[in-house]
Amino acid sequence: MATTTDIYPGRPYTEVEGNYLTHEKGILSWLTTVDHKRIGVMYLMCISTAFLFGGLFAMVIRWELFAPGATVPGLNADRYNQIFTLHGAIMVFLVIIPGIPAALGNFVLPMMLGAKDVAFPRLNLMSWYLWVVGALFAVISMVTSAADTGWTFYTPYSTTTQTAVIPMVVGAFILGFSSIFTGLNFIVTIHKMRPEGLTWFKLPLFLWSIYATAIIQVIATPVLGITLLLLIAERVMGVGIFDSTYGGDPVLFQHFFWFYSHPAVYIMILPAMGVISEMIPVFSRKHIFGYTAIAYSSVAIAMFSFIVWGHHMFTSMSPLSNMIFSAVTFSVSIPSAVKVFNWTATLYKGSIRLATPMCYALAFLFLFTIGGLTGLHLATLGTDIHLHDTYFVVAHFHYVMVGSTMIAFLGGLHYWWPKIFGKMYSETYGRLGCLTTFIGFNVTFLPQFVLGTRGMPRRYYDYLPEFQTLHAVSSIGAFIMGAGLFITLFCLLHSLKWGKPAADNPWGSAALEWQSTSPPHYHNFTKEPTVGDPYDYQDFKWDPKAEGYYKTAEGQGAA
């Protein structure tokens, strides 16, 4: 029976009973919580703080590069090298890798399954503490003599430089375990905690992508851990593994490092693809196009991700290895292309509502298309040799990591915000933030494609005058983007206090998490959620008074 009707139409917002945010009070109740929702919120706060620092470092970098020579007062080449290292390490290890899975995934995943929590709630809390400890090590490195190796820690530079490489490496090692535990937790949760009727092919695509991500996290991250330990052993004890003066091989480090760090690129992008697969159908009021293809392509990307690491090393490997890795690299482009076609096709004959999350989804589509297509220039051997280690590569991976993952993260944050905090933000400021960030991002990174094509190498403190105009434009873009992110921050924080109370299902999603109250009860659901097709919007009606959707008929609506 339609038991939900008594809650939905015209439901005035009342204090939600058992609101997970307020049912226990005090900071200690947060620090000892095993509630996946609270852990998600704690991740969100920590990751946002790290993002702020990583972003400020980016601003310093772009300010320095505004003109050739020394630009920022007091910033010499060594300091600059430390700052771009911190920017990279913080953004990769503390922000982008945990961003969507640990913050949004933690909150949403059990609820999408209609479950009460993840499979191992205490392990989940421990993952968060490991993140914090890892972050502290990064801070220790920062305040002593920050590492200046670049986030890739290439040997023998990293084993010989005088800066505090070890704290940074230990931090990355610990963060790796945080990531492994989260992945393990999610795999078990998805396998064991689906309610009856929620078969694999009825899972929301976000869960497919989180699942594929978790597999990579569990398999690839230990390799990073071992590599970083070897690096420490080499630095401390002079074990000759990577340093040729002790009979080691520096290129071996690159193999080990990228064996993790290439799959890690997919740890970053797969969850983003999952978020987009949730948002586009909801705001098109239409079933996602090609569900099966998108689900399988996530798994395919996860598998291919393990055998393409060599494409980071085309300038140091043998021609035979280069040939093999170039060929395999192209195979990753196919499942990615399939996803993009499917998202575009989902828009066809939809009923498209340009709410803030949808604006982010469309921005993602634009930026990911550029990020993905410029990958072709880099997978092709002849052109990669020219573009490798230039600004072309910098622009390419920022289009994927920031333009795609970060934008999807922000989109997902706006999408689930009403559920997480029970408040609606201002659509005007939300969209303005999205548009400003989008414009700023393109102004920052499009010129960098041209810079790289013209031969501007990356990680340069100083550059030739002929590159100045493009660098200056790029720097201006970075400041526009920074402004956009501050508008977004303001918009979201403002909503916490002054935002309108959110309806339980403000976007009309058919996924299970929206069957809870906004914000949810600390047990997630007070009534057993009804399982159905997560992309079937036929039975949803709009309620203008509550500014949300409610379901008219019983669960199993016609397709």
């Binding site: 520096p250 550029i370 040799i385």
Partner: protein, 357 residues
């Protein structure tokens, strides 16, 4: 659309900076290989622009056309999958990337497989300079090659990773300590007066961005003449100027300053003839023999407060070069400056008047 327009604008901005016409996406091509790379680059660009426009214009059209009027609106039913369409949009990209792979690989092999009888130049990277050793043993800070001849670069590094990158030739190869890597090219144009850029593209620390040499392409006869003259630089420049050239080009200046400040090694200022404490507690007052020893056996006497990290120059500097270096170091001390300048002055006075051709 916006992206393409913006990129064209940025390209224009670059061209304006360089004082060149708009439309040159890549640096001017200095080899046949570079032309081939450019062709592949434009092919990939064309494919990318096509798919970019397809996706972006397609979704923009859908967003405008199917814009929701009221949140309660339900769209007219449309299929949620179409096997035929999905197979087509999987197969077509597969065909395209196979083509890309093949042309890209064929093109890459040109830059790594050196033909027999190629002219060999040994390239050595160090923090933070390049040196280029020619078959006669002469070492220069820049790369000079004859036009229309195959050249093979044998690349290595003395310390950390570096990477040789000549944008105009579209080639790049890492310099790896403890092993050799190879690049090959055949320049088919003379270089401009100021030479082509040769960058380091593998991050290597403080002066990574200043590790910048030039590549010059000469006619064969000019190249030979250059090499003969350059190789005899000690006799052409005189001991003091030759020592200065060595100081600037062979890696001394990265560690030994001329302003009295300590770097990785002691400053050359007032080094000669003054007493300095050593790490073992004794003192040394550098004379000609001490400097010669430090160049050839750098770890024999370690100055207090410094690490034994200097590489030996045994075998890489010849006796006249060591003499020149000693003269240059002498010129940095108040006690011996007059003597060093006297030597150079006598050289200048007795130097045969050169008849420049």
């Amino acid at each position: 659309m916006m992206g393409i327009t913006l990129m064209t604008l940025f390209e224009g901005a670059y061209a304006a900076d360089k004082g060149k016409g708009i439309g040159s996406w890549l640096p001017s091509a200095g080899t046949e290989h570079a032309n081939a790379v450019d062709w592949v680059f434009f092919f990939i660009n064309a494919v990318s622009i096509f798919f970019f426009l397809l996706i972006v214009l397609g979704s923009a059209y859908f967003v405008v056309k199917y814009r929701q009027k009221d949140p309660g609106d339900l769209p007219e039913p449309s299929p949620s999958h179409n096997t035929k369409l999905e197979i087509i949009w999987t197969i077509i990209p597969i065909i395209i990337v196979v083509v890309m792979f093949i042309v890209g690989f064929a093109n890459y092999m040109n830059a790594v497989v050196a033909p027999e009888n190629a002219y060999l130049v040994k390239v050595m990277g160090r923090k933070w300079s390049w040196t280029f050793e020619y078959p006669n043993g002469y070492i220069d800070k820049d790369l000079h090659v004859p036009v229309n001849e195959d050249v093979k670069l044998l690349i290595s590094s003395e310390d950390v990773l570096h990477s040789v990158y000549i944008p105009n030739f579209r080639i790049k190869r890492d310099a790896i300590p403890g092993r050799y890597t190879v690049l090959t090219f055949k320049a088919n144009h003379l270089s401009p007066e100021e030479g082509y850029h040769l960058f380091c593209t593998e991050y290597c620390g403080t002066e990574h961005s200043l590790m910048h040499s030039k590549a010059f392409v000469h006619e064969r006869a000019d190249f030979d003449a250059w090499l003969v003259k350059a190789s005899d630089y000690v006799n052409n420049l005189g001991p003091l100027r030759a020592g200065e050239k060595l100081y600037l080009e062979r890696g001394c200046k990265s560690c030994h300053s001329l302003d009295g400040s300590s770097g990785t090694g002691p400053s050359f200022t007032d080094l000669y003839g003054n007493s300095h404490p050593l790490a073992d507690g004794t003192n040394v007052t550098p004379d000609e023999n001490h400097i010669r020893e430090s160049i050839l056996y750098p770890k024999a006497k370690i100055y207090s407060g410094f690490q034994p990290v200097m590489p030996t120059y045994k075998g890489s500097l010849k006796d006249p070069e060591i003499d020149a270096m000693i003269t240059f170091i002498k010129a940095q001390s108040n006690v011996s400056r007059a003597e060093a300048e006297q030597v150079q002055a006598e050289f200048e006075a007795n130097k045969p008047q050169e008849e420049e051709e």
